[in-house]
């Protein structure tokens, strides 16, 4: 009997990071007191009409471009009609016929090759309100009602759990770096539905599709897919017919469980939203948005490699978008990239992690950081002093120079002062050692001088003076 092959498609819902909601001017913020960011539009009050937040269209076009999609230049909205308590108007405004983007792709790295995961379409829609079930009652929080969402739908081109995870991770990275969304799965700003079917290797027709709704984490995506493939394999091998159904991944038993059969699904009675006129997008408008596209991680990796930054540091930078921004700023100011990257992913990151804070919670400024890197590059300070200065920079808003002065960290570069320390160390014995092994002797002496000066001797000047004195 020939093998069973899975075919997977993924739908991702992502909340957009706009200031306001999509069809009203309520604020779009997470984690506020329930039912405080609402108005009569969000509540679906009689007589209210939707407006359209231009920022959502702009972010939508930006997302389409980032995902290599074509932009729909003539689009409208549709109503999806269904009754549910979290759906204030009992219809959702979405885009069924004219999604803002279509025919795109996201490229994933399979190690030995790159694979394009094709995007069928991506459209704008409004989020529902949040239901909280408590003691047999349902409470509704309308703060989320009307938050802008983009739904991104792949073609059924994903072959296994590994590709699925790589795709979602890559998509998250793009949406985060594109400034599209927070992509926090735990806060619900990114939600995943996975469609899986199995077919025999020699069969070209796709098998019956099962949908797994609202998977809560990337690791759960992998688990859910593996579980579902195994479940369907068993059924098929026992000649049980797979039914089209919607399932969910139960985190407590780590299995997918049935929610409802597809046959009983709603008939959504889609029709064009009459309250929002058709929207025409001009080419020049799309071109303007193209100019605002940020550098994505895949391009960043190439750029950093060219600057000589090592792979471990690159990964550390990419995985922390905020710190990465600081390095990009340093580079744009003409600062040494390698030293900058090492400081940022080294002592700086360690300090932030240890204290569980963000760089914005410290007193570090980009100008101070640049000054520190410049001084290290020109050897004006040693790396040991550099560490001390950095640790001061977290707490103090003083300039680097002021920090050095206050903490008596200025390097001793005065030749006479240094000669006073060096000269007593030079004797015939040392000179003999020096003639045997130049480097080792100089290193030893510098170590001794640093001990005396508590690391404040300018190593360049000391080196020069030592060479001169020893060759006398």
């Amino acid at each position: 009997m020939n093998k069973l092959l899975p075919t997977i498609g993924i739908e991702v819902h992502c909340e957009l990071k706009t200031k306001n909601k999509v069809f009203s001017n309520s604020l779009n913020v997470y984690g506020e007191i329930a039912n405080t960011n609402i108005n009569e539009i969000d509540l679906g009050y009689p007589g209210t009409l939707p407006t359209l937040n231009k920022d959502v269209i702009d972010v939508g076009i930006k997302t389409a471009l980032l995902l290599n999609c074509k932009v729909n230049k003539s689009m409208y909205f549709d109503r999806k009609n269904y009754f549910y308590p979290d759906n204030p108007k009992n219809y959702q405004i979405t885009q069924k016929s004219t999604p803002i983007g279509y025919d795109g792709f996201v490229e994933i790295d399979l190690g030995d090759k790159l694979k394009k995961i094709y995007i069928e379409e991506m459209h704008i829609e409004e989020d529902t309100c949040k239901s909280i079930h408590e003691n047999g009652k349902t409470l509704l929080d309308f703060n989320r009602a009307g938050v802008p969402l983009i739904e991104i739908v792949t073609k059924p081109v994903i072959d296994n759990d590994n590709e699925a995870v790589l795709y979602v991770e890559k998509l998250r990275e793009i949406l985060l770096y594109g400034g599209i969304s927070d992509v926090k799965i735990e806060e619900g700003s990114l939600r995943c539905d996975v469609n899986i079917s199995l077919r025999r290797e020699d069969c070209n027709v796709l098998g019956t599709k099962v949908e797994i709704k609202n998977i809560g984490s990337i690791s759960a995506i992998k688990e859910a897919i593996l579980f579902e493939i195994e479940r369907q394999e068993k059924l098929i091998n026992n000649s049980v017919v797979i039914v089209a159904e919607t399932r969910k991944f139960d985190e407590s038993i780590r299995e997918t469980v049935s929610m409802r059969l597809k046959e009983t699904n709603n008939d959504y009675r889609y029709f064009p939203e009459p309250d929002i006129p058709r929207l025409l997008i001009e080419d020049s408008y799309i071109e303007e948005i193209k100019k605002t596209l940020p550098i994505l991680p895949s391009e960043l990796r190439i750029k950093y490699k060219e600057l000589g930054i090592n792979d471990i540091t690159i990964n550390a930078l990419i995985s922390n978008m905020e710190l990465n921004k600081y390095l990009l700023d340093l580079i744009s100011m003409g600062t040494n990239a390698i030293i900058g990257a090492n400081i940022i992913t080294g002592d700086l990151l360690a300090y932030l992690n240890k204290n569980g804070i963000s760089i914005k919670d410290t007193n570090i400024t980009i100008d101070n950081l640049k000054c520190l890197v410049d001084k290290l590059e020109s050897n004006e300070i040693s790396s040991k002093i550099g560490k001390i200065i950095l640790s001061n920079m977290f707490e103090s808003s003083d300039s680097v120079d002021l920090i050095m002065e206050k903490n008596d960290l200025k390097l001793i570069s005065d030749e006479n002062e240094l000669l006073n320390i060096i000269k007593p160390m030079i004797n015939d014995e040392i000179k003999i050692e020096y003639s045997k092994n130049n480097e080792k002797t100089i290193k030893y002496l510098i170590g001794e001088i640093m001990k005396v000066t508590k690391g404040k001797a300018n190593p360049v000047v000391v080196n020069d003076l030592l060479s001169k004195e020893l060759s006398k």
């Binding site: 009050y45 009689p46 007589g47 209210t48 407006t51 009992n90 029709f271 009459p274 006129p277």
Partner: protein
């Protein structure tokens, strides 16, 4: 009782300016007239306390515009902050809104005084005001006859001279048909001319708020007040401000008028036709060119309306589930499905439920292609047909209704009848055009109206022709007869 409200708007305005009368005099007169006409059932909710308060506030203010301190009645599907807004339905019998409709802000800016909310067919679904949860409205000319609808309360409150003005809404004829039945002037403006924000939607692509008044000039003055681009309604249009009365009095000689053959077909009552033909003859004698024309598919307007309006309505009325506002059943509810079933089953009346079911059906599954999208494409053809006519003609005219006001109770068991009451008004909504119903005769003490239709945003032209005809006919349109006799 005083009778200041029987004076023309200009006379009232002068008396207010001269301090001969105060705003409170007008308000008190209104409420005593409401009491005397309680049997007409025009109002669902009165705004007495607030109206008196407002009138007293206005005493110290400058009379700065023609509508200052003028009482107005508001159809009960227009949202009024703090004032119960029922849409003529048990569903919203307890609904007190938290905001004002755009048009309410507009009339407040002119310092008009809202007297109350008028009776209407439930959710504006009907053309005889018999589907209202609050009972039907009686025709002021003959109390055994219907008022027409759905803006029946608004029409009768004006025709019975309780208020000089009312706001109505028109989805398929709901301003024009009751205006014709009651001998008043009612205008459905161009779609997009008046913001729909705060008008409880029936059919979003057809609904429009409009002024209802005793005569043509005053109608234009109320339109002046309520128009404007509203950023809260994406379908409202940006237009330069204009005085809609500016063309009144201009010569009409040489204007070109088209009469669609459909508007004088055999289904039209003979008395209506003869009154209409009388007007046509007057116009011809004044040097107006009149042609009879055809508009493709116009005869399908009623089925188109049933598909498009009801599809939109089925979705617009989905929000009424009793969760956030509105009717909530006393029955014990075990799940969400039961909640919808009981709240909606008990909250809505029969006609509304029938229309929601038809609307849901035409959008369901493959029907959306077979009915809804096909209807949209035919709507486009009708709309283009009107546009083409306006390349050669200034006006399209015809009767407003096919029948005279009929007996209360008649046609209630005929689900299709109310749609055919709107046979001649629906095409205008389909094309988004402005149209007025103007009284042109009284037959056996029942009024007859005609429609004047213009191209989009040409309301000023409508007022010009309407005013001319009004002057020529010089009818006494007070149902109480000549009070001086």
């Amino acid at each position: 009782m005083t009778n200041y409200l029987d004076l023309s708007l200009i006379e009232i305005n002068n008396k207010l300016k001269n301090r001969e009368i105060k705003p409170i005099d007008l308000v008190m007169e209104c409420f005593s007239k409401i009491e005397n006409n309680e049997d007409l059932n025009c109002f669902i909710t009165l705004n007495k306390e607030e109206a008196i308060k407002k009138a007293l506030e206005l005493e110290n203010k400058e009379v700065d515009n023609i509508l200052f301190a003028i009482p107005i009645a508001i159809k009960d599907n227009i949202i009024t902050k703090g004032l119960k807004t029922t849409c003529g339905s048990n569903m919203l019998n307890n609904f007190i809104p938290t905001y004002d409709a755009y048009v309410i802000n507009k009339i407040n800016n002119c310092n008009m005084i809202v007297i109350g909310k008028t009776n209407m067919d439930e959710f504006a679904m009907g053309s005889s005001n018999q589907t209202s949860y609050f009972g039907c409205v009686l025709n002021a000319w003959n109390k055994s006859k219907v008022s027409g609808g759905s803006s029946g309360g608004s029409a009768v409150s004006v025709s019975s001279r309780i208020v000089p003005f009312a706001l109505g809404s028109d989805t398929g004829g709901s301003i024009r048909q009751p205006s014709a039945f009651n001998g008043i002037v009612g205008l459905k403006p161009t779609y997009g001319r008046v913001s729909r924000y705060g008008l409880v939607s029936f059919a979003s692509s057809l609904d429009q708020i409009g002024p209802m008044s005793r005569n043509v000039l005053e109608n234009s003055m109320l339109l002046n007040c309520i128009v404007g681009k509203d950023n809260n309604d994406l379908t409202s249009c940006e237009k330069d401000s204009e005085d809609f009365s500016r063309l009144i009095g201009e010569d009409i000689k040489g204007i070109k008028i088209a009469i669609p053959n459909f508007y004088v077909n055999d289904n039209i009552n003979e008395d209506i036709k003869s009154n209409f033909n009388n007007v046509v003859n007057i116009l011809k004698n004044k040097g107006v060119n009149v042609d009879y024309v055809d508009i493709d598919y116009i005869e399908y307007s009623v089925p188109l309306y049933q598909i498009i309006a009801l599809a939109e309505a089925s979705s617009n009325l989905a929000r009424f589930d009793g969760i956030r506002y509105g009717y909530c059943t006393d029955k014990k509810i075990n799940n969400a499905d039961e909640l919808y079933k009981y709240n909606r089953g008990e909250g809505f009346g029969e006609e509304v439920k029938r229309r929601i079911m038809i609307g849901s059906y035409v959008l369901s599954g493959d029907n959306v292609q077979e009915y809804y999208y096909k209807a949209l494409s035919i709507r486009k053809i009708i709309s283009d047909g009107f546009s083409n006519l306006f390349k050669n003609y200034d006006y399209i005219i015809g009767p407003t209704t096919t029948t005279l006001p009929y007996n209360i109770g008649e046609g209630q068991n005929d689900a299709v009848k109310s749609f055919f009451d709107d046979l001649l008004t629906i095409p205008v909504n389909m094309a988004g055009l402005p149209a007025m119903s103007l009284p042109i005769g009284i037959n056996n003490n029942l009024p007859i109206g005609m429609q004047i239709i213009c191209n989009k945003f040409e309301e000023a032209k409508i007022y010009k022709l309407a005013s001319f005809i009004e002057k020529e006919l010089n009818l006494n349109l007070d149902p109480r007869g000549d009070l001086n006799e």
